[in-house]
Symmetry: C2
Subunit: 314 residues, 2 copies
């Protein structure tokens, strides 16, 4: 693998949870000589200045990006194309553009037509986050031991891919490359459909007439509360994901529904063996996730400890 | 509310996560003069002896229960009726029987016919737990600030209800009473259907041919891993729950499916406003759950901190 040239100027566009975490991490780990923060929202810019996580802060995407060797677009998926169009004519020759969008094929289609010759687009997606949004939600270790997927075009110069890979590795992530289409299928099942069914069951519970919202909240520790975490993620970001990864989401949702029909039938006809069999198989997947360091093995995610500051034992 | 008489002998039947937590808590908080642990599994009995969380340990349900003023059945829902039948003829006059089953109407139907006159059944359900099972998984603070639902028959003597209520309050729980039928509806939406869809999506992901299990595990931090926690809960316990709360689960599953169809249609036809609207509404429910102390407000359940032992900030 060729050694990447040291990164001069890094421009981060959109200083929310992900963008501000990149800026924090790039500074903490010395990954760029200069960090420029670009955000259209004046309140966010003021907050970024206060936090001191960038060398310069601007609302002018064209001027801000003009200085950059690497531009990372950290805006909602639906805004990536329009923002790229504004910046594109002003980019330095040889600049590399990347993004952090949760959908890749539609982002490639939205960005690529705007970029002049000599500017390479290396799409990226760090599989990391929390349910919180905004510049204060970020932290420098967000990407530590998380995966970052890159979906470079086949003809991308290796040096451009390496520039993006080096940033993510510097932030502590493990980098994997695949096609945009495969990315969108993988994320549909590991992220998008899980979010959709979480949003859905929270909505179902909120709308019941036999059970009050107060009861739902009180007795949520039986499982429901787990779903409310991801169902409190940023609405605009998630609207855009479902609008732009429609085909893969509908495909995976179809699988989910087929399987749920089989399970429903097992309940209706009292097929305990079928239920026990599935409930046993699913344990292995969690063990694998814990073994791969993508999840804590602590009971209840360790949240009793997080809430009380005491060990979960008695 | 009448003052409960001090509890003499507490018998805990089934020393798994819940039963062993009750024994630990009863001892720690001095809630009974004597604690008898009853378990049919020799390995569990040996472990309970080692842990020292009961005054006596036996595999003989009849003899063990004969001493008790309060018997708490902590076996899977499908086993509660049979165990009650074995113990019933041997209970002391005036003894109170309770349970911790996640389903109530079917448990009432399974237990009540076996109990002689003078023995009161006060069904209970602590809405608390973790994904782990067995005597080592328990801890004395499991019920702290969690709700415990009691579903006493209308003609239950208040002193009997109070004996059970006092135990749960002593363990730190907040007690609420309702009918068994209402309990089963409330739990269907707050616990049983959430578990079912979690088991289901983990099964769907495991069976895909386009996305490998290895990819599912690697990229699980995008949301999927949250579901694997409850999908690793005890298979026998959960099989029994679905077999015994069939009607309420099917009813709530019907609601879930209706809502998911509407959401699927919004995705198919690109109705971004409908998606954004739901995704905004669902945030309020989580805020309510956090405000009521049933959930941590820490990002990601605080699990980054649980895993690394360091603050989640940078």
């Amino acid at each position: 693998m060729p050694e990447a040239a040291p990164l001069g100027c890094l421009a981060v566009v959109g200083l929310g949870l992900i963008g501000s975490s990149i800026a924090r991490g790039a500074r903490r780990y010395g990954l760029a000589e200069r960090i420029v923060a670009i955000d259209a929202d004046e309140a966010v810019r003021a907050r970024v200045l206060d936090l001191g996580i960038a060398d310069a802060v601007t609302g002018d995407a064209a001027a801000g990006a003009a200085q950059a060797d690497l531009v990372i677009l950290c805006v909602p998926v639906g805004a990536i194309g329009p923002v790229a169009a504004v910046m594109a004519p002003h980019l330095k020759p040889g600049a590399v553009v990347s993004d952090v969008g949760s959908v890749k094929a539609s982002v490639v289609a939205a960005v690529s037509p705007h970029l002049p010759d000599g500017i390479v687009f290396v799409p990226g997606h760090p599989v990391a986050g929390t349910e919180y949004s905004g510049p204060d939600a970020g932290f420098s270790t967000l990407f530590s031991n998380r995966w970052c997927i890159l979906t470079p075009p086949e003809d991308a110069p290796e040096a451009a891919v390496e520039r993006v890979r080096a940033l993510w590795q510097g932030l502590g992530a493990v980098v994997e490359t695949m096609t945009p289409e495969h990315h969108d299928l993988v994320l549909a099942i590991t992220s998008h459909v899980p979010h959709l069914i979480a949003y859905n069951i929270v909505g179902t519970a909120a709308d019941l007439e036999q059970v009050t919202q107060s009861e739902v909240m009180k007795f949520s520790a039986g499982g429901f509360r787990d779903f409310t975490r991801i169902a409190s993620s940023d609405p605009t970001m998630w609207r855009d994901i479902f609008l732009t990864n429609r085909e893969a989401v509908l495909e995976m949702l179809g699988r989910f529904n087929e399987d749920l029909s089989v399970l429903t039938r097992a309940i209706r006809y009292g097929d305990g063996d079928a239920l026990h069999d599935l409930f046993t198989r699913t344990r292995a997947i969690r063990r694998g996730i814990v073994a791969q360091g993508q999840e804590t093995a602590e009971a209840d995610f360790g949240r009793a400890r997080a809430a009380e500051g005491v060990p979960n034992a008695g």
